[in-house]
Amino acid sequence: MADAEEPEKKRRRIEDLTEKMAVDSGHRDGGCDWDGRWNHVKKFLERPGPFTHPDFEPSTESLHFLLETCKILVIGAGGLGCELLKNLALSGFRLIHVVDMDTIDPSNLNRQFLFRPNDVGRPKAEVAADFINSRVPGCKVVPHFKKIQDCDESFYRQFHIIVCGLDSIIARRWMNGMLISLLSYEDGVLDPSSIIPLIDGGTEGFKGNARVILPGMTACIDCTLELYPPQINFPMCTIASMPRLPEHCIEYARILQWPKEKPFGETSLDGDNPEHIQWVFERSKERAAEFNITGVTYRLTQGVVKRIIPAVASTNAVIAAACATEVFKIATSAYIPLNNYMVFNDVDGLYTYTFEAERKENCSACSQVPQDLQFPPSAKLQEVLEYLTENASLQMKSPAITTTLEGKNKTLYLQSVKSIEERTRPNLCKTLKVFFSDVELGLSDGQELAVADITTPQTVLFKLNFTA
């Protein structure tokens, strides 16, 4: 099919171009530069000013470091990622890696400007890298078409700075946890060379934020988890028997009717499949008609099923600009970095607000102290599970709880593997310690529980404290 051929052809053409440039420029990367190319960057690095860092020594070495040595990792090649790659490349960074597990969708094209209609279906990381490398001579973006969780410690360790343009809090927390796990302490003192600064950006419609995180030193993602309130889902009884809004009707079709009627066999609902959405749309309309509810549209159906967040190019441009500025400042040590959280909103005029997010003393990710779990011994394990998922500072998704009993490692509850879930499910009804019943787990006061969850690459240690 003609369309399928096109991306291949285009890719080969770009590779040829890059090849050609490498040959023309000889054996030095500097050969692809031209007169005045880096003037805009030099002026920042070769002159002091009122905002320069107190320790900054203007020199020509900073530019050299940027161009030849500094290694940056960009996480996400979507709305923020495309902007970040452009900004970093134009600022002189050449050794850039980009990770993204997604492929290109038509709805990306209104803002992810490194992609064209012909690229639909191709991996974002690869297309983005190709485009930047061909548009900005000398820039060597290396793509990784994979999940962040598929890369290991040794991969992340190689970077000077990591900048995130993610659309998922879970992924952010994972990245946060990974960088914290790379920290090394000597006699309880943090070794600064083990710190990899994390610049994190996020956008939603006309709102956005950018923050600078120095793992182990400044507030991390989990320190400020309350800033990301959990997603509200409609109560089941509303969906099942008392719909009032068109959204309730759509959730009914998605959550209840689809698994029951299995319209496409065993396939699960795919929000990107127009046939699936059409089915949900039809059922939702029927449901709405039953209750005299108006407002079910195809667009709304898709929005609810895919939990779509509206997005425009300009917000991403602003936030990516702020993030790239911070990467530049930190890489060159030329200016004092943002301290440490900026919020942006352009619904009514233009509004920014900058503040210092504070570290939480007992942060579950970066404080290094076991988290306090306070429960009466009569409490059931189910209550502990609910606490781990519902507490605003923890917001775990499906925690797996293990502990050491009688010298052996014991899984108290694990949800993600079906057989283990079935085996450990009865534990949820057991009490933590003996209490008017012989159905108990036998845990002691001060017992340490290790909890694993997708929100963190390392297990979180909790200490059980029995209350009266």
């Binding site: 920042f44 002159r47 452009k86 038509p106 898709q302 300009s314 702020a322 005029g349 233009l350 900058t354």
Partner: protein, 532 residues
């Protein structure tokens, strides 16, 4: 290769959810002019091409240099030596096949000399890195043609934007935290009848716990009013007592223990919202008092005709209130009760909109126009729904801002009182513009110029201050530290991507643009909006 309607819907899906199909249509009918394809300029234009404006024209007489290509994603190495407008148009056009790109290989001053009406055709003009004299000239030309003008400058680490538009009306401002329009303090007849149809005491338990909180509050408010001389709860103490009154209405089981009635809890939680008096927002009152509202002519834009019609409604059918909005928030209730209540509001809203339409009709007739051809009914309905959120933005002209007689001294001096104010950067930029006027170049472009230029800049700052504010020598030394810094003359362009969003607000007449000066400090990542 133009897109099909379906592929456009897919492509623009994420932004259609923000400004709707009608908003998108205004974009697709827009022709934007960019003056100067610097890195800042092309960045702004990129954020307009991607969402699908109809067309753009770049006006730029400069030739592409090596430095240009180094910091501009939309210029390539082979464009060095070519005209900058032409070079940038190619790579910007490539971003979106739905958009048509044009270029003019001349600067704006020359263009105006040859064709004073050249800029009249545009929906909005965005001028980047223009000297003050050009801005003033363009400002006056565009004002007479009623074309909005957005001025953008980046200097070193400072970003600057100035919106120049005489009068910009917004119907859909989409406020973040809008107050609900519930009319509990002045229930209209149909609402009263609906409330009467409920007898909370005699209801079955299931109905009682699934009655919408609006009804509950209405019922208990009736009770309260009869016991308090027709006076609603006013202070904290009374509101607490009112909440208690509602709480006592919760059904109890055989043991006298209150049942779990979430709808009653909702009612108690929403007492403050419910007791908000129905009031015309002061912003809307101000708009009612404008000259344009008082004098409706055949040339009056539909915004003012509809506004006058709403004003007439307020003084007649509305009994002092705006048309009912017609929406209620979701609340715990069974489907039927909720839908019925929602319909009471919806029908009233439709009734009020119809009354407003009658006023529109007679206003149009009085100026020799016909309804509904001139103003479609759906426009009136949209207007009524947004009656509380209407906004009119008026920006002072550049001439007024710069002139010694009309400069906003108060704003300048009060900002200078706080040490961190971004106002300093505004004054610096004005001084830099003055430098350019005197020396035909910007300060500190080359390293060897820096020291000398600092003293020259000091002179500019001095003269500026003396014109506007008497004796601010205290700040001159501060300015000169910044002066060395401003002399970097870079463009840290990125942040002005948001300029594109302001342009979209102007084009779509949705969301509220800033008024009228925005300053951004990229080093501290702070900003300020000033009215100058």
């Amino acid at each position: 290769m133009a897109s099909t309607k379906a592929s456009k819907e897919q492509k623009y899906d994420r932004q259609l959810r923000l400004w709707g199909d009608h908003g998108q249509e205004t974009l697709e009918n827009a022709h934007v002019c960019l003056i100067n394809a610097t890195a800042t300029g092309t960045e702004i234009l990129k954020n307009l091409v991607l969402p699908g404006i109809g067309a753009f024209t770049i006006v730029d007489g400069h030739t592409v240099t090596g430095e240009d290509v180094g910091n501009n994603f939309f210029l390539s190495k082979d464009s060095i030596g070519k005209n900058r407008a032409q070079a940038a148009t190619e790579l910007l056009q490539e971003l979106n096949s739905d958009v048509s790109g044009n270029f003019v290989e001349e600067g704006p001053d020359k263009l105006l000399d040859n064709d004073s009406e050249f800029f009249h055709r545009f929906t909005i003009v965005i001028g980047v890195q223009l000297p003050e004299s050009t801005c003033l000239r363009l400002g006056s030309v565009l004002c007479s043609a009623s074309v909005p003008f957005l001025v953008c400058k980046t200097y070193g680490l400072i970003g600057y934007m100035r919106l120049v538009v005489q009068e910009h009306t917004v119907i859909e401002s989409h406020p973040d935290n809008a107050l609900e329009d519930l009319r509990l303090d002045q229930p209209y007849a149909e609402f009263q009848n609906h409330i009467k149809s409920y007898d909370l005491d005699s209801m079955e338990k299931k109905d009682h716990s699934h009655t919408p909180w609006i009804i509950i509050v209405a019922k208990y408010l009736e009770k309260w009013l009869s016991e308090h001389n027709g006076q609603p709860p006013k202070n904290y103490k009374e509101k607490e007592a009112f909440r208690q009154l509602i709480r006592e209405g919760i059904r109890k089981n055989e043991n006298g223990v209150p049942e779990d009635e979430e709808n009653f809890e909702e009612a108690i939680k929403n007492v403050n919202t419910a007791l908000n008096p129905t009031k015309i927002p002061s912003a809307v009152e101000d708009i009612f008092n404008s000259e344009q509202c008082k004098n409706i002519t055949a040339q009056s834009p539909s915004f003012w005709v509809m506004l006058r019609a709403v004003k007439e409604f307020v003084h007649n059918e509305g009994n002092g209130s705006l048309p009912v909005r017609g929406t209620i928030p979701d609340m715990i209730a069974d489907s039927q009760k909720f839908i019925n209540l929602q319909n009471v509001y919806r029908e009233k809203a439709m009734q009020d909109a119809a009354a407003v339409s009658k006023h529109v009709e007679s206003l149009l007739q009085s100026v020799g126009k016909v309804w509904p051809e001139s103003i479609p009914e759906k426009d009136i309905k949209l207007f009524c729904k947004n009656a509380s959120f209407l906004r009119v933005v008026r920006c002072r002209s550049l001439a007024e801002e710069y002139s010694v007689d009309t400069v906003n001294k108060d704003e300048i001096t009060s900002c200078m009182d706080s040490p961190d104010s971004e106002m300093v950067f505004y004054l610096m930029l004005r001084a830099v513009d003055r430098f350019y006027q005197q020396h035909s170049r910007y300060p500190g472009v080359y390293n060897y110029q820096v020291e000398e230029d600092i003293s020259k800049l000091k002179v500019c700052v001095n003269s500026l201050l003396q014109e506007y504010i008497n004796i601010c020598f205290l700040f001159i030394h501060l300015f000169c530290i910044f002066g060395r810094y401003i002399c970097s003359n870079l463009s840290l362009r990125f942040i002005l991507g948001s300029a594109a969003q302001e342009a979209i607000k102007i084009i779509s007449h949705q969301f509220v643009p800033f008024n009228n000066t925005f300053l951004y400090n990229a080093m501290s990542q702070t900003s300020a909006t000033l009215s100058l």
